[in-house]
Subunit: 254 residues, 2 copies
Amino acid sequence: MDQDLKAYFAKTLAEVSIDCVIFGFHAGELKVLLLRWKETDGWSLPGGRIFKEESLNAAAVRILQERTGLTEIFLHQYYTFGDTNRNTHFTEMELLERLEGFFGKGIFDELLHNRVVSVGYFALVEFALVQATPDWFTDECRWWNIADVPNLLFDHNDMITSALQALRQQIRNQPIGYDLLPEKFTMPELQKLYETILDKQFDRRNFQKLLMSYDILEKLDEKRVGVANKSPFLYRFDKQKYEKAIHSGISFSM
Amino acid sequence: MDQDLKAYFAKTLAEVSIDCVIFGFHAGELKVLLLRWKETDGWSLPGGRIFKEESLNAAAVRILQERTGLTEIFLHQYYTFGDTNRNTHFTEMELLERLEGFFGKGIFDELLHNRVVSVGYFALVEFALVQATPDWFTDECRWWNIADVPNLLFDHNDMITSALQALRQQIRNQPIGYDLLPEKFTMPELQKLYETILDKQFDRRNFQKLLMSYDILEKLDEKRVGVANKSPFLYRFDKQKYEKAIHSGISFSM
DNA sequence: GCAAAAGTGTTCTAGTTACACCCATGC
DNA sequence: GCATGGGTGTAACTAGAACACTTTTGC
């Protein structure tokens, strides 16, 4: 195992890595996928190393695929973190010792003492489709509500904060939702998604008017059944028009 | 010299570097600062290596300072370029041979055959204050009009294209001009800057109204003298209010 | 005096915001 | 039948767009 890991390290870049903030949306809450490191209670973002012959974007896609099982998901590079003190959060000796005991001394040095620049990506995924899988260093995957994220290893709390900022920037210039919602969804669900990301309430009528004005939504003849209260209509994104709106850009200004 | 260079390489990261798109504005034209490589007619962006104990941002500031003599300039990280074929533009053997003859074979390998991820920054500088200075590999600095930029080495044409996109994004959400214009300037000059960056014409009255509404400009009792035609008033940014507007953001929507 | 650029306000339009009543469903 | 949430349109307001004439200066 240690041998495998060394071979893997030898095939990958040592000074640059990737970390991904994977956003999901469920039960009206915005969530991020986090990993718990083996033998510890330290959590971190999913991330990974880049093969020497692999582009950054390809590595990000691969890492996402490895952790969620999903391909073809929305993935966006948002910032590259290059402070020299990126590992300072990881100073609790107890944690380090446990890791060292588990992985061996060499790996410890490689992982935590080297200075590494990390390229931050954020991904938007459909919560229900994710098959979360831990990696070499971790043995638990969990979705955390944005508001409940604990103190993370490395500078990963900062990474989430700025990913969220980038997502908020994104949502104001491009449609969002295709990757975060199931194929069919109701207008109140879409509105709740926007409200959750932007932490802001909207008027139902105005929201509907604005979203429909982008001409990316298709109102279906179906309604969501089995829920309390009046059955809401179902909508679906028109993939073609949605893609076009992504490229040409929209201005969501509520 | 070769020895110095090897020592420098040993103190810096090998897999990550920085490239800077330095924008200036002069005579109604948006310009970028480019460097010509010694013994060649190949041009590239200013860039540099990162010291092992230096943060990305500090390295970018240092590189800018080295090339322009300026400190405290507007600097923004906009994208990290990590394709594996980033060096493919550099295939002209004649160029490579000349470089090899000049720098020696070792340097050639290090620089051009290694796969390097490059963090892109763009800077906005006041044209007149720049004392452009070439680096180790180059012997000429020149300002080029954006529209006249030749085919550059590496993937640097792409870098300029996306820096310009990022700048256009920037200008719509934050005030711009403090770093690109001299201390005192006229409203038509400021308008020309906006028009040049966005490649779009504005109505003088509406432009003035909008810019003044941000409450970041101070109209002076002076006029620019000695120019043809009616003397325009001079304006100055109110640094405090300008900084506040940068943080809180504006919406330039013309 | 003439050409070229700058100073200045108002009207119209379009987009954004505010707002309320009825209806369907589950319990 | 009642509580809860969803569906739907209009009026007021505000911000953006369009627009022209006068003034100053250098040549």
